[in-house]
Symmetry: C2
Subunit: 205 residues, 2 copies
Amino acid sequence: MFGHPRGAEPTPGPGPILGIDPGLSRCGYGAVRRDGAALRAVAAGVMRTPPEWALPDRLVALADDIERLLDELEPSAVVVERVLFQVNARTAISVGQASGLALAAAARRGLPVVQYSPNEVKLAITGDGAADKAAVQMMVTRQLRLTAMPDPPDAADALALAICHVWRMRLNDAQAAGDGERGAPSGRLEARVAAALAKQRGGAR
Amino acid sequence: MFGHPRGAEPTPGPGPILGIDPGLSRCGYGAVRRDGAALRAVAAGVMRTPPEWALPDRLVALADDIERLLDELEPSAVVVERVLFQVNARTAISVGQASGLALAAAARRGLPVVQYSPNEVKLAITGDGAADKAAVQMMVTRQLRLTAMPDPPDAADALALAICHVWRMRLNDAQAAGDGERGAPSGRLEARVAAALAKQRGGAR
């Protein structure tokens, strides 16, 4: 839908926030940039490896794709979904392998690397940590002012990760500005999410 | 116990078989070489990353250690333990991440990369797919004619992986030589293991 920004004119300011939804068959990516008060999607898509290939070769192909993505987008931070054993029972190992490649590739470049759990992302995007995928996709579409839902869903999940991190940074900024008096989230949803996120973050981690 | 072969005189012939028992806190490695009819350990040890470091930094450190290991040992094949979700429930994700780095690093160099499950290794080493760790360590010590058990156990597990692959290659050689008439395993244990391994391999994979 957005494609790689190959050939696009360079955008000013720091690089976008790149979200990666790790997976071996399909690894979603999505990058967003703050554009004034709004958020803008600058790239979204999915990296695939052929299931019929041997596992080591698939891992090399994915690692190469991730490197190319980092080269092209020059993100200012990378957000990778935290793999939860319970959530990904069937694919835990291969999702873990893919996430390891993504985390190491970003860290090797000295980029800030952040992980959020699926629940944290749902909470940040919809205000409900138990929201279903459709609700997340709808909110991603709305918050990025897209004309259609990001497709495939892996791309939407990756965009949601990136958006989650923008909210988190705004929350940090607000807290740094002094108990949220200046620069605090102003919208109703935003305030609700910020409070819930702060509460969850302060809990058992 | 064996240490890296830094400064050791170069050994003739193809590189050793390198076994890697993936893990983030402790990643075991062990390399063996065929020495006539016998097997010889040429390196064994463990790569560690500090638990207090951030996950992405630990993954980078481990990836760097694996690259150095491949540089130094110049293995002819790399054997990585197949991560089984059921066996590694608590650490499935981090073991998966570590295994992904090892598999990709070896495949990127064009090395043959093989995975065996813990049961396959136990079967190949002891003749019993349900053997306990102590039995595996004892057989590794005996088959490599070591004067003491490899320490830490992660190193023994990695040596066991490498030995397992040597047995497997012997089995393949025997089969290629024509239904085991020439070059077939001669020892009693060896024949038993080869038959069991062939049976398991032919089963549900």
